[in-house]
Assembly symmetry: C2
Homo-oligomer: 101 residues x 2
Amino acid sequence: MQNVNLDTLFELSEFFRIFGDTTRIRIIQLLMEHDVSVNDIADTLGLEQSVVSHQLRILRTANLVKPRREGRKMFYALDDEHIGEIFNTGLTHILHKKKGK
Amino acid sequence: MQNVNLDTLFELSEFFRIFGDTTRIRIIQLLMEHDVSVNDIADTLGLEQSVVSHQLRILRTANLVKPRREGRKMFYALDDEHIGEIFNTGLTHILHKKKGK
DNA sequence: TGAAAATATGAATATGTGTTCATATATCAA
DNA sequence: TTGATATATGAACACATATTCATATTTTCA
């Protein structure tokens, strides 16, 4: 078993909490395909720009996404491959459960 | 890419949200080793029985754990292997990040 | 420089959620 | 059945958090 103390478990729950919001998970899924600018995220998902910016800040602070400036646009990308992997692991579980019904 | 509509993404975020609480993630980790009764969970983690019961209900409703009665004790176990797998995927990410620092 | 475009941020609000405390329910043992 | 043990549940409370609205910041271009 890996080394897991209370602190690590707390960080782990914090990490999972980031995925525990519909808006954020939709953004993550979108970024799994390719980088997207803030307004494009908003347009694509049908969300207000402010909502997207607020949630991007949470994702950024948690190191799940990283910004890149291009002119006056900001493109966001997933920080590493783990993010998509975790998304897919969860998704597989969900779809598996659904099938069972 | 797998089939993901809005509903599925909502369920996915709901699923991850369950992992997004320290108390619940601690319970999950404990159950990864073997079945444990409610009071044993409380004693082991230093939590009140009520707290554990409340969180177990959330885990049960989300089909993350399943109860088994044995006398007047209730033993809880993880519902399937996916749960531990997701826990470990997240943990690997956390430990990986920590190393990077 | 000034206006427009793109994004970020702060305050306010409403809603969700975890814990606490008290109590109910269920099972066993005598 | 009665008391004790084990667990579940409900209400109340405090706190976290997502969205909205207004506005600030940054960059580009004329």
